[in-house]
């Protein structure tokens, strides 16, 4: 976990460095045969151009390009140069978000929740529906996995994430037992550190005894796993907060229904919460103090400094049960948290970077940053709006979902023609195939690489965005709510 945090910070730092490096001449294809890449079959470049990029850390880049190399984000910015064989996706008029991270789901990749790698079904209909809902990574059981289509390798991001403990007022002896385990383990760790110092001088010294030490607790206190509790009652939440403060770990609390009543305490204890905005539970009438669920729960916890991950009520894809409360309604659930007062940016974070942190995979997924996996979703409007569709989902720099190509939502507000991915458009009847190279030259204006320059490593594609700059610029104008009526981009001319 610590390592992950460090990596996360590095990735964050590189994002800030990226714009600085913009002025330099980027040479992504300058050295295609690095010694490490020898057994790699091929280099893949992928670019999403012209979209409004919401990086997921608060910044917003209008009409920017995200360039990926071998599945990792290589560069984010404007007027980027990239190799000629880059696969491009024109997202002009669309929004680009990081792929969503569902804190927990079931059945998206296979039927089993254990022995993951051997049961993955990368052709499952449920996976397509997951991607259609914008989810590109998810927690399953005690693992974090990616929604990789058409392959079974590399889907598992991380396993053994949590150590799950029970803490409930209904089981007082259990609470005491857990406390004892923490005490014994903390004592052991102290003695062990002491022994480590002393053994340098006295080699005969014996290791301290492991009596009463619980391995799950040990891994939490060492920072190898994250302590997870399922709790919702105010008393339990306070107890967990106290325990966490006593032994110096950050608990993840799943449920946390009455968290809003003790938000400050949870915030001080460094707790992290998994909440469902539309959870319903009545107040305990025996208590005078406030209780029960509150739509403001997420908002109040967030304001008290508790990182929030939004979860849905039913973690599977449910096509017949509570419509809109299964995993396909993840963004809607986050929207309900916004209704309760959670800022929009925090709501988006609660289904992207925060769950990625909770799962310990924020160095790979959860935001659009240089060095992270190129997991993006391209939507036709505001992510949290009910009218918004995911048009494309990109996983590891490959198009994993295209609304027009899958059967589920293609017929609803079909995507207008011109926005079909560049280079993938089928020729109309009677249309002749453009001569090789001519098409590219047209787009790049006069910047076609001249034949006199023989020492160019790879013919560069030219400036995709630069070419647009010479022509009147098309900018999609989302309306106030950030979506377009009828699915057709409303465009206006600017100078």
């Amino acid at each position: 976990m610590r390592m992950n945090r460090i990596l996360g910070t590095l990735a964050l730092a590189s994002l800030f460095l990226a714009p600085l490096a913009r002025g330099q001449e980027p040479e992504p294809a300058a050295d295609p045969k690095k010694p490490d890449d020898k057994h790699k079959t091929e280099e893949t470049w992928f670019a999403v151009t012209g979209g409004d990029v919401y990086t997921g850390d608060g910044s917003f880049l209008r009409g920017a390009t995200v360039l990926a190399h071998n599945g990792k984000i290589e560069r984010i910015g404007f007027e980027l140069d990239f190799p000629a064989d880059t696969k491009k996706l024109d997202a002009t008029g669309y929004r680009v978000y990081p792929g969503l991270v569902a804190i927990s789901s079931s059945g998206l990749l296979g039927n089993s929740s254990s022995e993951f790698e051997d049961t993955i079904d990368p052709f499952s209909q449920r996976m397509i529906l997951g991607l259609a809902s914008g989810i590109t990574s998810t927690g399953v059981g005690n693992s974090a996995v990616k929604l990789e289509r058409f392959r079974i390798a590399g889907a598992v991001l991380r396993d053994r994430i949590y150590s799950t403990f029970s803490w409930s007022s209904r089981n007082p002896s259990g609470k005491q037992g857990l406390r004892d385990k923490f005490r014994a383990t903390a004592d052991y760790m102290r003695e062990y550190r002491d022994w480590e110092e002393k053994v340098k001088k006295d080699k005969e010294l014996k290791e301290p005894p492991k009596k009463g030490v619980d391995n799950a607790v040990l891994s939490v206190l060492r920072g190898d796993t994250i302590a997870k509790f399922n709790a919702g009652d105010r008393d339990d939440l306070l107890g967990i907060a106290r325990l966490a403060q006593d032994y110096g770990f950050r608990p993840v609390i799943d449920g946390c229904q009455e968290g809003w009543t003790v938000a400050d305490e949870l915030g001080r204890a460094g707790a992290m919460a998994i909440v469902t905005a539309r959870d319903r539970r009545p107040k305990d009438e025996h208590q005078v103090i406030e209780g029960g669920t509150n739509i403001q729960n997420a908002s109040l916890l967030y304001r008290a400094g508790v990182p929030i991950a939004i979860a849905v009520q039913q973690t599977g894809v449910d096509l017949s049960g509570l419509v809109g409360r299964d995993i396909m309604g993840l963004t809607i659930e986050a929207g309900f948290a916004v209704r309760g007062g959670l800022p929009e940016a925090a709501a988006i974070a609660s289904i992207t970077i925060v769950p990625a942190r909770l799962l310990g995979v924020s160095h790979r997924v959860g935001s659009i940053e240089v060095g992270k996996d190129c997991d993006l979703i391209i939507t036709d409007g505001d992510l949290l709006h009910y009218n918004t569709f995911v048009q494309w989902a990109i996983v590891d720099g490959r198009i994993a979902y295209d609304k027009q190509k899958e059967l589920f939502f293609a017929q609803i507000r079909p995507r207008p023609e011109p926005t079909v991915a560049v280079g993938e458009r089928k020729l109309d009847k009677g249309e002749s195939k453009p001569e090789a190279g001519k098409d590219e030259a047209d787009k790049s204006g006069e910047e076609k690489p001249k034949e006199e320059k023989p020492k160019e490593e790879k013919p560069k594609e030219g400036r995709e965005v630069g070419a647009l700059a010479t022509a009147p610029r098309l900018i999609a104008a989302p309306n106030r709510n950030g979506y377009r009526v009828g699915g057709k981009p409303v465009a206006r001319l600017t100078e």
Binding site: I120, P122, R151, A153, L407
Partner: protein, 437 residues
């Protein structure tokens, strides 16, 4: 000549399904309107000369020597007997344990079974029977459906090793364990060899003869264990392999093929994953349910797969003749056709083990042909390709000289539902219907 007499005695041992077997002479000719030869296309006005249960010659409009009895049916169509390469007819053995590669279907055989006699009426003249079970089930046997004793039935044993692979850890582990057992044996054998070499070194240092070294391979085998016990090994005798390991050693050496059952596209990928770097010959059994997503793994390029698709591998696929739909939709797909077009080799089997499905086998294949499957591929898939899967293609599966005279006589095109199966000939004997010269 000896062979012929042997075959004759064999043929005479065959009882017939029909109460009144039509007695045919040892040598006779057949003259029919059309013959589907499988290997040599369709012959018009075909003449087939049969002697001692084997096809002696086949051709168009061949003159028949005077005195040879001729079955003359200018309106009939003849094709080779059907081969159902994947069946459990007449077997009722319980499924063994998860990992039983040494199991043999031939141990469960039941000669004189009514079920076997029944399918002869529908034109099935060869069957491949496999052992039941999950995981690594065991080895299949190729049989003729009629015979008095089990030995009469068997055409070839250890035809393929049936493996059921599901997307689960235990299933994948079973396959890997098999190869590990083979590895263990190789290791053991290497050690035994080293030990033997060392002992030889010692002996050399002492004055001993080394005449034994020049023994041939066969003699080595003949030297039994007791010699090893008594005088110490003068000849290297490799340690005996556990039968479970032996099956996997045979897979590796190519002596045995694997027939791997996978139900979905994902399971195909899991199979390749479990197989890893092992180089074995394998065929696929793809049970087609109503909804099947196997089209995802036809070709590598279609969906950007990391592994080769079934078509790219030119794998042999055992399928039911049936049309499927894309999961969750009503989009009909003709997977047998798509597999054939992608480069895979087809083996078509009846839709189930029931008599009606055997009866309608050809008609069902006809439906798939009507929906686009190549006709010649379809006919081959029920005869020669299936025989190849069973490793008996040298002796049956097509109308060629020196092959068994397993013939089906139809009143019209075999795939036409209105055609009637008039007679079935098994190794030169009429076992169903009535045919007189």
């Amino acid at each position: 000549m000896i062979l012929q007499t042997l075959l004759l005695s064999l043929a005479s041992a065959l009882p017939s399904a029909d109460p009144q077997p039509a007695a045919l002479p040892n040598l006779f000719a057949i003259r029919v309107g059309r013959a589907e030869t499988i290997t040599n296309g369709t012959l018009q006005h075909a003449v087939i000369l049969v002697e001692g249960g084997k096809i002696v010659t086949i051709g168009e409009d061949l003159p028949v020597e005077r005195g040879i009895p001729v079955i003359d049916r200018p309106d009939w169509v003849v094709m080779p007997g059907l081969v159902n390469a994947y069946s459990r007819l007449s077997l009722e053995g319980d499924a063994g344990e998860e990992f039983s590669p040494e199991n043999k279907a031939s141990d469960e055989l039941f000669a004189d079974s009514e079920e076997l006699k029944d399918v002869v009426k529908y034109g099935v003249t060869t069957l491949g029977l496999y052992p039941a079970g999950n995981g690594v089930c065991g080895q299949a046997v190729a049989i003729r459906p009629l015979g008095k004793t089990n030995a009469d039935l068997v055409l070839a044993d250890s035809c393929y090793l049936k493996i059921v692979l599901r997307a689960s850890s235990s299933s994948k582990r079973a396959l890997r364990d098999g190869f590990k057992k083979a590895d263990d044996y190789v290791e053991k054998e290497k050690k035994a060899r080293e030990k033997w070499d060392k002992e030889q070194e010692k002996k050399k240092s002492k004055p001993t003869t080394k005449k034994e070294e020049s023994k041939s391979e066969d003699e080595k085998k003949d030297d039994s264990k007791d010699e090893k016990k008594s005088a110490g090994p003068d000849v290297y005798v490799p340690p005996e392999a556990d039968p479970k390991a032996q099956a996997f050693l045979d897979l590796r050496s190519g002596k045995l093929r694997a027939l791997v059952s996978v139900q979905s596209a994902a399971e195909y990928l899991h199979f390749l994953d479990a197989l890893g770097e092992e180089k074995i010959s394998w065929d696929l059994r793809l049970p087609l349910q109503r909804e099947s997503d196997l089209y995802y793994v036809l070709e590598k390029k279609a969906y950007g797969l990391e592994a080769d698709g079934i078509g790219d591998k030119k794998a042999r696929c055992v399928l039911e003749p049936t049309l499927t739909v894309e999961p969750g939709t009503m989009h009909v797909r003709n997977l047998p056709m798509e597999f054939a077009r992608a480069g895979a080799k087809l083996v078509l089997i009846p839709r189930s083990e029931s008599n009606p499905d055997h009866e309608h086998w050809l008609a069902n294949v006809g439906e798939v042909v009507a929906a686009g499957l190549d006709r010649a591929t379809a006919l081959r898939a029920m005869t020669l390709e299936a025989a190849e899967l069973l490793g008996v293609d040298k002796r049956l599966g097509s109308l060629e000289k020196e092959k068994d005279a397993n013939l089906l006589f139809f009143s019209g095109d075999p795939l036409e539902p209105t055609s009637k199966l008039e007679a079935v000939m098994l190794e030169g004997r009429i076992v169903f219907g009535e045919v007189k010269p």
